[in-house]
Symmetry: C2
Subunit: 173 residues, 2 copies
């Protein structure tokens, strides 16, 4: 890719389409790994926790698609990030499961409506080994960041449309 786009460093929330400042033109691909969702036991999740999760990780990335579909060059691609909790639950993960699954459903639906040959996919990463190590947990419970990156490369360089790409499957291949 010739250029990198997106909101500034540390800005994890993509704003509504009219507000986003695209700093460069002639962009072929947009990749989002940004957004947060609240990890907390279901009985303790408050209205604000659900709203924050929907606003950041879900709508932040949905809004990227809404903007990028107007700005990317013909045939370009958009890649979002969900996560394995959409299908493999864990205690405390209900809001994240909800948001990750929402991203996968949105990509399924949006893919068939994108104009000009644009593609959209979502990468579902597992835990990342480096993250687990930083959290003093066993890094074997995840995959290395470099392996996870293969899923994003596959999304950008491949021909998939509307697919949820399991980063573990690509890491093994």
């Amino acid at each position: 890719m010739k250029n990198e786009i997106g909101p500034g460093a540390g800005d994890s929330e993509v704003r509504s389409p009219p507000e986003v400042a695209w700093r460069v033109k002639d962009v072929d691909a947009a990749v989002s790994c940004a957004g947060s969702a609240v990890f907390k036991p279901l009985a303790q999740l408050a209205d604000a926790d659900f709203q924050a999760s929907l606003r950041s990780k879900l709508m932040g990335q949905v809004n990227l698609v809404r903007t990028a579909m107007r700005r990317l060059r013909d045939g370009g691609s958009i890649t979002l990030t969900s996560g394995v909790l959409s299908r493999e639950p864990m205690p405390g993960g209900a809001a994240i499961s909800m948001v990750n699954a929402a991203l996968e459903g949105f990509v399924t639906g949006a893919a068939i409506e994108l104009p000009r040959g644009l593609r959209v996919n979502v990468v579902s990463p597992p835990w990342i080994s480096e993250t687990l190590a930083a959290m003093k947990m066993d890094p074997k419970g995840g995959i290395p960041a470099a392996d996870c990156a293969k899923a994003y490369v596959a999304a950008v360089e491949g021909k998939d449309r509307g697919r949820t790409i399991d980063a573990r499957e690509l890491a093994r291949s």
Copy 2:
């Protein structure tokens, strides 16, 4: 079931847990078919359309779970409603695909955290024949309401937890 619960007729939005008035006690099962989401081409979906969809069909039903998990009798069940667009997209359905998938992901995650033997599942209905007929469309594109109801009965009377129940599969069996 001995009693029926829920918001009043025509009230399609379940409010935040503290506001919900449960009119009866000793309830064994809560079933929701309520909630709306916006059907509109992706390029025309506005911020307000996404917000309305998240607020009504998604958070309305999520809030039912949050309330019911405190009110239902031990071993009771909660059943929500998504729809086939989560996995089978159609033009104009991106926001609905998003919300339906979010409900399925939430149920996957919430199921493992419910206390007191409570269960939660989500029924994924296709088009309903009677609805298609009312819209002057071919009723053969859907299943009769009575067949769709089998999925809800299966959710309430069965032992499933965290499952997305495809109403077409049950209608065929």
